[in-house]
């Protein structure tokens, strides 16, 4: 066996397991899902079912034109979550990480760090159930607190039910980004900051000219994580509001789930929704990467 052939064989042997797993659990389901979205399959046997026919983009057309506008309501809510994630969690996470890394708080750094990261280690289902009990019900904690101050307080429905969801999402995931930023801030050579300080740089200048440029690549990465994570949000909202009231907190993943498993199953529609979710995610991530390139990643 020649060295070239040996190298090739070892390459195949080493790559094959990962490739097979990737094809089985990522590529095949994705392609299969797209295929299913173009059929009329609505339950029963999938393989060998003579009734399954190719119907083209029918499910996609229905999704975009259905009278109740569920897709647009769900997409709008997802975009709100993306906005809160990208423009809320990331800046806040960075600010907190900066405060902690620069030791701007004199005492209790570790305590603050733990407290901010803590929501990340709690299951979103538990957080959802907790906040449902705290915020939404007629006998919620919030209502009880209101009654402490005003015994005659009457429960009224929240006319903007997405707002509490967004606040919880902001609280939940900010710690995750803070940890990422903190780890990367600690990689910046203290000598550079010390040199800047000796040259007379003040804290805002250190932040703007040293810390932020050093983290531009990380910011892009966190933005991608935030976007993809926001688009697949499911568990928290399922537990917290179930998409209600009146579907006002429904997101795309919940809409997909309901299409597949609630009432008469509409699998092609559910698969069409998931395909569109992937497409939206890809588009947003490409835009983010382009923006990153335009403004230049200064991280080495």
């Amino acid at each position: 066996m020649t060295i070239h052939r040996e190298k090739r064989l070892s390459y195949i042997v080493l790559v094959a397991p990962a490739l097979i797993i990737y094809l089985a659990v990522v590529a095949f389901p994705t392609i299969f899902s797209i295929g299913l979205s173009l059929t009329n399959y609505n339950g029963g046997l999938i393989f060998g079912n003579p009734d399954i026919q190719f119907v083209g983009l029918k499910s996609y057309i229905w999704m975009f034109t259905e009278p109740a506008g569920n897709f647009y309501t769900s997409l709008g809510n997802n975009l709100l979550i993306v906005a809160v994630s990208v423009f809320g969690q990331i800046p806040l996470g960075f600010i907190l990480a900066y405060i902690l890394s620069r030791k701007l708080v004199k005492r209790g750094n570790s305590l603050f760090q733990t407290m901010i990261y803590l929501p990340n280690v709690i299951s979103p289902i538990i957080i959802g159930v907790l906040f449902n009990a705290i915020i939404y019900g007629r006998n919620s904690v919030l209502m009880e607190v209101r009654k402490l101050f005003n015994p005659n307080a009457v429960f009224t429905l929240n006319t903007a039910p997405m707002v509490p969801v967004l606040i919880v999402i902001l609280w939940m995931y900010t710690g995750f980004y803070m940890i990422i930023f903190l780890a990367n801030l600690q990689r910046i050579d203290p000598a550079i900051i010390e040199a800047a300080r000796i040259d007379g740089a003040r804290e805002p200048q250190i932040l703007w000219h040293i810390s932020l440029p050093a983290l531009s690549g990380v910011i892009i990465t966190t933005a991608i994580l935030a976007i993809s994570g926001s688009l697949k949000t499911f568990d928290l909202i399922y537990a917290m509001t179930g998409g209600g009231p009146a579907g006002q907190t429904r997101v795309l993943s919940l809409y997909m789930y309901e299409s597949a498993f609630r009432g008469a199953p509409n699998y092609p529609l559910a698969n069409a929704i998931s395909t569109v979710m992937v497409l939206i995610s890809v588009v947003l991530i490409v835009i983010t990467q382009r923006l990153g390139k335009t403004f230049g990643s200064k991280e080495d």
Partner: protein
């Protein structure tokens, strides 16, 4: 020599007997069962022993391989089994709704020939053996009973405290709102957080009263629309209920699990839910505890919504009823095969007199499908007796919307009923959205 022959013969006989015993052992039939275990009912845990283990004891040649699921995991398991063509032999089934796939794809055996062969007709409510009552149009399941999706529970203790009598008409109900409020009570409680509750447990009945019997067939046949004045009037009545505070809009924040607890603690004078909820109030036989003690239950009346004395109502004293859940058999089981016979034996057992009587006593069932159950011989709690007499409280039963129309049609209606309560949509908008969804669904078909 003779001795040797005798020994050889004996040995051969023993071997033959062993083979026969082995062959007999081989005849044990294994049945895979997918069962729905209702974890909210206090007496469910005992079912394993009383229903399933008792069957195995009575049928030593049948071995059950059970899979018990509850709520969403059950439905997802059914759809997954259906997708790969690996349905269990015996399955817990709804007559429509979440089990639509099993019926419309004919994945369940037509039980009519077996029911006829064994002469079941004389023991069951005719609805149970009527193929038209099941969404596939054939007898895919034998039902445990008939379910009233609307019950109107009256807490006479609360009414007495407010100096009131049970309301006979909607106007009387409206007049009671300020009196009850002054005493700190809600008038009518509903757990409306989930969208299906209002539609299934109240609006379907209201639609029946405003639109008359058979209204759904007129829509399905294209003779009527959801935007017609009578359906619109039904939606407007829901708006009126909220505006009159008969049902407070804040009930949209009451989770389905909270309803019975709130009613049991005298939060409201009336409570609307399905008849299956009565089982939640009765005594748990394993602990002796109840959400409502039998004494307190005696103060609860079970009836239907009062007469709606509003313009446009066509009929009153109605309810909504559908077949309850039951059991079906995998269509792949061959006719005449021992496995099919074993599965049929199990289904007959599950909807047989003993099991239904047991379920009736433990609150797992409201109105059984069999007609030969002697209520007088049973020890029932007051709310169970009240439920058994519910049929006398109404004259007609109309359809439950999500039992007739499919998800894409009733989803905008369910959401819309909540939106009316929140004031974010008008009845006209909800009617139009439902009609649009219906037409789009019909065209897609």
């Amino acid at each position: 020599m003779l001795r040797k022959r005798f020994l050889s013969l004996t040995l051969a006989l023993v071997m033959l007997l062993s083979l026969a015993a082995f062959a007999h052992a081989e005849e044990v039939i294994e049945l895979r069962v997918l069962n729905y275990l209702n974890m909210t009912s206090p007496n469910t845990a005992e079912e394993q022993k009383v229903v399933w283990e008792a069957f195995e004891a009575a049928h030593p040649n049948i071995k059950l391989v059970m899979e018990n699921e509850f709520n969403e995991p059950f439905h997802q398991a059914v759809e997954a089994y259906a997708a790969v063509g690996n349905l269990p032999d015996v399955i817990y089934v709804w007559p429509s709704g979440r089990s639509t796939t099993l019926h419309t794809k004919k994945l369940l055996k037509d039980l009519a020939p077996l029911a006829e062969r064994d002469g079941l007709t004389e023991f069951y409510n005719p609805l149970v053996l009527d193929p038209a009552q099941q969404v596939g149009g054939y007898l895919a399941m034998l039902s445990n009973g008939v379910t009233a999706t609307h019950t109107f529970l009256v807490n006479t203790e609360v009414l007495k405290d407010a100096g009131l009598e049970p309301a006979k008409t909607y106007s009387e109900l409206v007049a009671q709102v300020p009196v009850l409020k002054a005493k700190g009570y809600d008038t009518v409680l509903m757990a409306n957080q989930d969208t299906w509750v209002m539609q299934s447990c109240l609006f379907s009945m209201v639609a029946g009263r405003f639109c008359g019997e058979g209204w759904e067939q007129k829509i399905l046949n294209g003779e009527a629309k959801f935007t017609d004045p009578d359906f619109l009037a039904a939606l407007n009545f829901v708006k009126q209920i909220y505006e009159d505070k008969v049902i407070d809009p804040s009930t949209l924040a009451v989770g389905y699990g909270e309803g019975p607890g709130l009613f049991a603690t005298n939060t409201a004078a009336y409570y609307i839910d399905g008849d299956w909820r009565v089982g939640d109030f009765i005594t748990d036989q394993s602990t002796g505890e109840a959400l409502m003690s039998p004494d307190k239950q005696a103060g609860v009346e079970i009836t239907v919504f009062p007469e709606i004395d509003v313009e446009g109502v066509k009929i009153n004293r109605t309810n909504t009823a559908v077949l309850a859940t039951g059991y079906g058999i995998n269509a792949n089981l061959e006719d005449g095969s021992p496995k099919l016979e074993a599965a049929w034996e199990l289904v007959k057992w599950l909807v047989g007199k003993d099991v239904l009587t047991y379920r009736l006593q433990t609150g797992g069932l409201g109105t059984p499908s069999r007609t030969d159950i002697d209520y007088a011989s049973l020890t029932l709690e007051p709310m169970q007796i009240a439920l058994a007499n519910l049929a006398g409280e109404y004259d007609k039963a109309t359809v439950v919307i999500d039992g007739v129309f499919e998800g894409p049609v009733y989803t905008p209606l369910n959401d819309g009923l909540q939106a009316i309560g929140m004031g974010t949509q008008t009845p006209e908008q909800v009617a139009q959205a439902t009609q649009d969804a219906f037409e789009a669904w019909k065209n897609a078909k």
